[in-house]
Subunit: 429 residues, 2 copies
């Protein structure tokens, strides 16, 4: 059985995910909504809304920040806007952002077809799982050569979610996957520009389009994801067959990571380590960080002068943390903060060194107090977090982004499986 | 200077094409219109119109067969419909179909912006030339591994044409090319399904979208066609630098090929050879064809029973030719024709053999008469055709597809540089 056949069966079959997995998917939906709403004033969001306005069309689905558009356009706009802050979830097996590539597709279609909230959540989970599985099947070679998995594998996941919600028949779902094989695209060379979030929008939009056209009777080569001259063979895919082992029973999505700090992912392990230490800023004589060598060229700006620079600076985020600035809040990373005398004094006492023995997802921290005591801490982002802790952190992050009232309202909408239209109404504001 | 910079300068500079090249471009526009209109009743055309109907939106541009849609959608629909018959032009340097990937983009934008007919024709020519140049830069490796150049290189050409007509500034045009690098897609594995013409629609649509979004202020990585993690490096591009030699002065487009028979391209050389022989069908004792070995598995069905099979059969098309059936007409290739006693008798006297010394674009033909005479003929499709002959053949093809009156009306519209809206009105019928 080829992977396309496996994906068709997975896309259309009963969802047998255990409650523990569904609970994580709900947290990703809460997290996605919070990050999406927080991103609605970014410059790229205005460009996307202008594009939707120029095309107009049937108001099938709502846009983040207001307005309606055809579902394919809604997926494009909402995928882009929700990735604008780069603050959404990540799966490191897949090396991609599952939610931004898939949830906008599922939501746009679900709203249109008046599917219920439970059906939406199942389709989003199945689509995100499919994107991770397909991304792992493509393997590291695909990512290393320059493809943006969020966009490419994401489009397959978006197609699965959209096709499920459109209630495609098996042959239509197979056709949709054949179509998405010829449509999926997205390059890592866009990183550092607003075309990076646009790639997430492409993912969602391509998935919706393929499912929609298959329903309308379009043909395509079946098995074009993996077959001769197919997506995998042409896009440096490794065809890692084990990637599909146990699909439908085991859920890779359960190990999705959420970002709890509005800065570069390379800084998160050390901030989690620091959270375990109780020390007053005035008592700190020196801070020593050991990190994996790859991060040294990514996020080790010693004395940045801008808020953007602060997001790539071990010394600055550690100073922020010990001085009580909330590293989950976007507003915390400002040019003014970089000029603050307390921040400047404390970050001057931070030393960062590379250590091959520290994993990419790990960090070691030592804080020496003026009293001569040395406090040690270590964190590994790969160690699974208890669901309770994850829920609390996501609630705190949503509150930091949107305020407590709105964060709680979103949590309630998701936990009660509110209808897609209710979610869209919340996103419109 | 990188190829993106060269393309920006070429896209926005004065068009210095000599009249001989412009005349060929006009013939391609006439040919494209005839083939596009003839394809409007194909099943894939109905799917595309249904898709456009579902989305609705601003009626910026006309659809082949009627109706209006946003320009990005019009490019998608018209690109697909005009390639539905696979009867449009081909460039063998580029191994792609320049007109179907570029003209629909140019027309959709030109109509919207009320550009004149001369501006439309210049933009289409510049876009098609850009697609050939970029396709040659990608090289054979890109095509061999499985990418459909009509779609990938075509999107770059469509972006150039659309950007020129949208009067993008140089930095916007550079951004548009960066966006199309992350958007372009299309696989050869779709050949044999209606997703093959859809790939042509993707080309036109992706080009329009990139130009439109660049005008709206979207960002992208500049130089993403050729730079690190760019389109060429990720898509098996060979980076053939000579491909851009003399761009703006020399015109690769001039050697574009048109199809004059509504069958597989592998049969065209022998049909052209046969056209030089004057022999009555009853006088034919035997027909011997020598062709390049690659065609033997492509178009050598000995006794097909269907009209589709006839399009891949040396023996059948030669029998048709000598019996006076017009091989340029779509209707000539029918199931009934395959059952005709005269066709069956004559094709039984055709022998086909492979010969390594005959080039891919060549064919050798020997006709032995009952009187014992042997007539020899040879044709090489690579030998340029005089403009006069090409014009006459395209007029005859258009007349075979649409009738003489309509074919002449289209020729007049194009030769008088009619406004884009007039062309769209003709296509709508």
């Amino acid at each position: 059985m080829g992977i396309s056949d496996k994906l068709v069966a997975f896309a259309l079959g009963d969802c047998r995910a255990p409650e523990a997995v569904r609970a994580v998917a709900r947290l990703s939906l809460i997290d996605w909504m919070a990050v999406a709403i927080a991103g609605k004033s970014e410059p790229v969001a205005a460009v996307m809304r202008a594009f939707a306005g120029e095309e107009g069309g049937t108001g099938q689905a709502g846009l983040i920040g207001g307005g309606r558009a055809p579902m394919r356009m809604a997926a494009l706009v909402n995928g882009t806007v929700s990735h604008a802050l780069d603050y959404d979830d990540t799966h490191f097996g897949h090396i991609g952002h599952p939610s931004v590539g898939v949830i906008p597709a599922a939501l746009a279609v679900a709203e249109q077809d008046a599917a219920g909230g439970a059906a939406l959540q199942e389709a989003a989970l199945i689509g995100m799982e499919a994107s991770i599985r397909f991304g792992e099947w493509l393997g590291r070679a695909h990512y290393q050569v320059g493809f943006h998995q969020t966009a490419t594998a994401g489009a397959v996941g978006a197609c699965v979610a959209a096709g499920r919600l459109l209630k495609l028949k098996p042959d239509q779902m197979a056709t949709a996957l054949g179509l998405v094989a010829t449509r999926a695209s997205g390059l890592k060379s866009q990183f550092g520009t607003s075309a990076k979030p646009f790639n997430a929008g492409l993912s969602a939009s391509n998935g919706v389009e393929a499912a929609q056209m298959a329903r309308l009777g379009m043909e395509a080569r079946l098995g074009a994801l993996e077959g001769p001259l197919g997506f995998g063979p042409t896009h440096h895919g490794e065809a890692v067959e084990e990637a599909f082992d146990g699909i439908g029973e085991a859920w890779r999505f359960e190990t999705v990571s959420h970002k709890f700090h509005a800065c570069c992912h390379g800084l998160h392990a050390v901030l989690e380590a620091a959270a375990g230490l109780d020390v007053a800023p005035d008592a700190i004589a020196a801070v020593r960080v050991e990190t994996h060598p790859r991060w040294m060229s990514v996020c080790n700006q010693a004395a940045p002068e801008t808020g953007l620079g602060a997001k790539f600076s071990y010394s600055t985020v550690l100073a922020m943390h010990f001085l009580g600035h909330d590293t989950a809040r976007l507003e915390s990373y400002s040019d003014g903060l970089c000029g603050d005398a307390h921040v400047r004094a404390l970050r001057g006492r931070v030393e960062v060194s590379a250590n091959e023995d520290v994993g990419e997802m790990q960090a070691r921290l030592a804080v020496e107090t003026r009293a001569g005591e040395v406090l040690h801490a270590f964190h590994d982002l790969d160690v699974p977090m208890a669901l309770k802790d994850r829920r609390a952190k996501i609630a705190a992050k949503a509150a930091a982004l949107l305020g407590t009232t709105r964060a709680q309202r979103i949590e309630t909408l998701v936990e009660t499986r509110a209808a897609p239209r209710e979610l869209a109404a919340e996103l419109a504001v």
